[in-house]
C-alpha cells in the first residue's frame, strides 16, 4: 500500500451496511424467527408468498430503525413509505423484496468513527432504510439441485448507506466496527457477523491525489467480516491502481471477494445490472410516526459508546484502555457501575482491565458470567484505598477468594485470610526509634541530604512487621521520625 504508484491515488470508499434487526418476529410477516432453526420451519403463507397473503408491518422493526437513525443523527421521515424491488430469485418467493426507495425512514445522518488512535472521523450517512431479507439458496449440499431455506425470508434489515467519505481500508474497517458497537449498544441487532447479522457491501473507486471528480466505482458484495472488508478494499484499490497505471480503465461492475485467493472477482457488469422497477408498495400505507413516538425513542437511547469513550479519556484513562472498556456494552456497563460505586474511574479501569479481564480470559467467559458484582469489587477497592489491605494482597488473595464466594463481603474474606492491616502507629513509632538508635550513621547521612535512605528504613520496618503493616503508614512514620529534629 505504500508503494509510490498507490500513493499517487486517493481511494474513495462508501459502504452499504445491512443490519439484521433483533426483533423476535419478521418485519412483514407475523411468524417468529430465530437463528439456526431447522430449514423452512419459520415460515407462513406470508413469507411463502401464497396467493392472497398480504404483508403486515412489525412496529418493533420501525422503532428499531428510528432508534438507529436517532443514534446516527439522521433526519427521520415520519411519513416514509415502502417500495417493491422487483427481481426473480428462488429464495425470494414474492418475486419482489419489500424495501424503501424514495422515502427511507432515516436520511442525512452522520457517524463519528473512533479510529485506533482515538481520533474521530466523521462519515455522512445518505440514508437508513428498512427492508426484508431474502431466504437462503444453498448450492453445495446436493450435487444435483439447489436447496432453499426460507427461514430468513421476511426478517427485518436496516440498510445503512454512507456517503463516499472513507479514504482507506482502515477507515472502512473502523466504521464497520463503530456501527457494530453502536447497534449492539442501542439493542437493535446482535450484530454477529459470523451469523450474517451484519453484512457489508463496499463501493470503491480511486482518483489521482488532488483530483475532485471521483473515479468509476466498483461494488464489492457480501463482505461478512471486518477483516474481509479491509482486505477486499485493499486489494481492490491495488487492482484499480494497477489497471489505471497499465493504461486500462475501470469499468463499473459488481465484484465479489474471494477470501481463499484473496482477490476480488467479477460478478456482473453494468449491462447486466438488474432493472428493479421500484414502485411504492400498495399493500402498506405510508408510515405515520408521531412526534411523541420519536421523543420516546430518543429518550430510550442509552449513552452511546462514543460519549463514554470521551468521558473515560477525560477522566484520565488512556486511549487504548478506554477503547477496550467501550468495546462491549456489557463490559462497559460493568465498568460504569464499578466507577460509580468506587468513585475512582482510573483505579476501576485498572481492576477491570487487570485482574478481572485476566480471569475472564483464563476462564473463556464473558463479563455477563463473571460472578462478582461491581459493588463487591468496589468494596475491595475501598479496603485498599483505606489502607486496610495491601494492593498485592487484594489482587492475589482476596480477589480469588471473592470469585469463589461472591456473596461474602471482601472485608470478611480479608480477615479470614489474615491480610487485614491494623493501625500500628504506636508500635511502628517505637520500632522506628529503636531502628534509628541502631543505625545512627544512616540517620546522619539522611539528614545530610541522602534522601534515598528513607527506603532503607521503610524496608527494615516492613520486614519486621512481615508485610502486615500498612505501607502508607510505615512511610509516614519513617518520614516523621527522620525529619523530626
Amino acid at each position: 500500500m505504500d508503494d509510490p504508484q498507490t500513493s499517487a491515488y486517493q481511494p474513495v470508499i462508501g459502504l452499504e451496511i445491512h443490519v439484521q434487526l433483533s426483533t423476535r418476529s419478521k418485519v412483514f410477516a407475523t411468524e417468529a424467527f430465530a437463528f439456526g432453526g431447522e430449514p423452512n420451519t419459520y415460515v407462513s403463507p406470508i413469507s411463502l408468498a401464497h396467493p392472497g397473503a398480504l404483508p403486515s408491518l412489525n412496529q418493533a422493526c420501525i422503532e428499531q430503525v428510528v432508534k438507529l437513525g436517532l443514534a446516527t443523527h439522521c433526519q427521520i421521515d415520519r411519513q416514509g413509505y415502502f417500495a417493491r424491488k422487483n427481481y426473480f430469485y428462488p429464495d425470494l418467493p414474492k418475486g419482489y423484496q419489500l424495501s424503501q426507495d424514495q422515502r427511507p425512514i432515516c436520511y442525512e445522518g452522520q457517524v463519528e468513527v473512533l479510529q485506533s488512535d482515538g481520533s474521530l472521523k466523521r462519515v455522512s450517512l445518505e440514508r437508513i432504510h428498512l427492508e426484508e431479507d431474502a431466504g437462503k439458496s444453498i448450492h453445495d449440499l446436493d450435487p444435483e439441485e439447489s436447496l432453499i431455506d426460507l427461514n430468513r425470508a421476511g426478517t427485518g434489515l436496516a440498510e445503512v448507506v454512507t456517503r463516499p467519505d472513507l479514504r482507506s481500508a482502515e477507515e472502512a474497517g473502523a466504521l464497520l466496527a463503530e456501527m457494530r458497537r453502536l447497534v449492539r449498544y442501542i439493542g437493535v441487532s446482535d450484530a454477529n457477523m459470523e451469523q450474517g447479522n451484519l453484512r457489508c457491501d463496499a463501493n470503491v473507486s480511486i482518483m489521482p491525489v488532488g483530483a475532485e471528480a471521483y473515479g468509476t466505482r466498483v461494488e464489492i458484495k457480501n463482505l461478512n467480516s471486518i477483516t474481509h472488508l479491509m482486505r477486499a478494499i485493499e486489494h481492490e484499490i491495488a487492482r484499480q491502481v494497477r489497471t489505471v497505471e497499465s493504461g486500462g480503465t475501470i469499468v463499473q461492475e459488481t465484484r465479489t471477494w474471494d477470501p481463499v485467493s484473496q482477490q476480488t472477482l467479477p460478478m456482473r457488469g453494468k449491462e447486466m445490472a438488474a432493472d428493479y422497477r421500484y414502485f411504492p408498495e400498495p399493500d402498506l400505507l405510508p408510515l405515520d410516526l408521531s412526534e411523541d413516538l420519536l421523543h420516546d425513542l430518543a429518550a430510550s437511547l442509552p449513552e452511546l459508546p462514543q460519549a463514554r469513550f470521551q468521558r473515560y479519556v477525560a477522566a484520565g484513562i488512556p486511549v487504548n484502555e478506554s477503547f477496550t472498556l467501550i468495546e462491549q456494552r456489557a463490559f462497559s456497563d460493568y465498568f460504569e457501575a464499578l466507577q460509580r460505586q468506587s468513585g475512582d474511574p482510573k483505579t476501576a479501569a485498572n481492576w477491570l482491565l487487570g485482574p478481572v479481564r485476566t480471569y475472564l480470559n483464563a476462564e473463556g467467559i464473558e463479563i455477563a458470567d463473571f460472578p462478582v458484582p461491581p459493588q463487591a469489587i468496589a468494596a475491595l477497592m475501598a479496603l485498599v484505598e483505606e489502607g486496610q489491605v495491601s494492593l498485592p494482597a487484594a489482587r492475589e488473595q482476596v480477589f480469588p477468594a471473592l470469585i469463589a464466594a461472591p456473596e461474602t463481603a471482601p472485608q470478611a474474606l480479608a480477615q479470614r485470610l489474615e491480610v487485614m492491616m491494623e493501625s500500628q502507629a504506636g508500635e511502628l513509632a517505637s520500632a522506628m526509634a529503636a531502628l534509628m538508635a541502631a543505625h545512627p550513621d544512616e540517620v546522619a547521612r539522611f539528614r545530610a541530604g541522602k534522601k534515598q535512605l528513607h527506603g532503607f528504613f521503610v524496608g527494615q520496618l516492613m520486614r519486621q512487621f512481615r508485610g502486615k503493616a500498612d505501607p502508607k503508614e510505615v512511610n509516614e512514620v519513617v518520614r516523621q521520625k527522620l525529619t523530626a529534629s
Binding site: 403463507p45 398480504l54 408491518l57 422487483n86 422497477r277 399493500d283
Partner: protein, 477 residues
Amino acid sequence: MVEYQTLADIQRDLSTGSLSCSDLVDVYLARIEAHAHLNAFVEVYTEEARAAAVVVDQKIAAGTAGPLAGLVLGVKDVICHQDHGLTASSRMLTGFQSLFSATALERVLAADAIIIGRQACDEFAMGSSNETSCYGPVRNPVHPDYVPGGSSGASAAAVGASLCHASLGSDTGGSVRQPASFCGVVGLKPTYGRVSRWGLIAYASSFDQIGPITRSVEDAARILHVIAGPDGKDNTAHAVPVPDYPAALDAPARPWRIGYLQEAWDSPGLDPEIRQRGLDLMARLRAGGHEVKPVSFPLLDYVVPCYYILTTAEASSNLSRYDGVHYGYRSPQAEKLEAVYTRSRSEGFGLEVQRRILLGTFVLSAGYYDAYYGQAMKVRRRIRDYTLELLSDCDFLLTPTAPGTAFKLGEKLDDPIAMYLSDIYTVHANLAGIPAISLPLGQHSNGLPFGLQLMGRPLAEADLLAASRYLMDLKPL
C-alpha cells in the same frame, strides 16, 4: 320454488318452518346442474353445503343462527378458502389449495352463510367478459350466446340464474359492477379499504375490493355489513367502525343532490337506449324532489389509460410469485432456473395475463417509468381530487355502468382496446377509491338487461345503499 328476491324473504320462510336450509341447498344444487351450460361453477361443494345446511337449520331451531343464516353463497375463484381449491381460473394454479381463508369469507361463514361452490372468472380477474378463464367461457344467463361480463362474470351469472342467492366477487376496475349490469343483478364495490383484502388474490393491490353480487340492494347491505371492517391482516383496511347498513336503508329519504357526469352521458360510444333510460331516471328523481344537475368530468378520456397503466404495473409485480418454483404450475420441460421461470410462466399464464404482465413491466422500466407509471400516478391523484371535489357538492354521481349491454362471446376477444373501453365508466371509482354500485334498472329492446351506476363519497356506503334502494323503488312517471 319461488325465486327469492331477498334474504329477508328466505329467513321469513325459514322461521315459519315452511322452508329449511337443506331444502334450499338442494334446490340450488339442482339448478346448478340444470344450468351447467353456463359454466359458472369451477367446483360445487355439494356434500359440504348439505352438511352446513343441517347445522344452520339446527341453529335456526335453537335460535342461535347468525345474521346470514339461509344465505346460499357462491364465491369467486380468487377468494381464499382454507383447504379448498383456489386457482384464479388459471392453469398456473391448477390443483392449488389454500392454507387459509380470506377475512371476508371467514366473516360470512361466522354469520352462518352456506358456501355452495367456487365460481369461475377471467384469469386472475383480468378481463371484462369471463372469456379468459382456463375453464372456458361463462355464458350469460339471459342469453347463452352473450358474455356475462367480467371478471366476476360467473358470480353474476350464478345470481342472475338463481344458482345461488348471492356471490362474493372482486372488483378492480368494474369486475363486480359490469357483470352485474350484464346479468341484471346488483353489484357493489365498497370504498377501497372497507373490506379486508386478506385472502383475495391480488390483481392490482391499490384497486382491488371484494364486493357482493345480489338480487337486491337490501342483501348487498346485509352482506357488506358482515364482511366490512378493520382487519389486522390488511394494513390498508380502514379502522373506521362499520355503520349498520341494513338499518340505514330504512332511514327516511331526504332530498339528494345527484350529479350526472356530462361527458359520460354524452359519450358517442354509449348505447342510446341506456342514455334514454338514464334521462328518464333523472326526470323521475327531479319529480321526486331531488336535485339533479350536470357536472363536468373532463378527465373521462384519461381514466382507461391511467387505469391500465397502474393496474398492469401492480399486476406485473403481484404475479411474480407465480414462478414455477414454490407452488403451482412448473413446466415439465424446464430444467435450468431461467427456463423454469420463462417456460412455467409462458405455459401457465393465458395470453391476456401475459399481455398485462408485459405491459406492466414495461411501464415500470427504467427510462419509461416517469412517462408512464409516474405520469399515471399524477393523473390518478387528479382524478381522485377532482372526483372528491365533485362529491363535496353532490351526494352521488350517476353514470351508466357500461356503454352497452352484454356483447357476444368472442366479439371483443381479439380487440383488447375495445374490451378495455367497456370499463370506461367503472374504473373511475377504483381510481378514486370511492364506493360504487350497479343497479339493474334497465331492460334493452335487444332483450338484455343493463345497469346504471351510482358512486358515492368514501366510506359513505350507508348513504349509497339508501339512495340505491330509493332508485330501485322509484315508480315510472
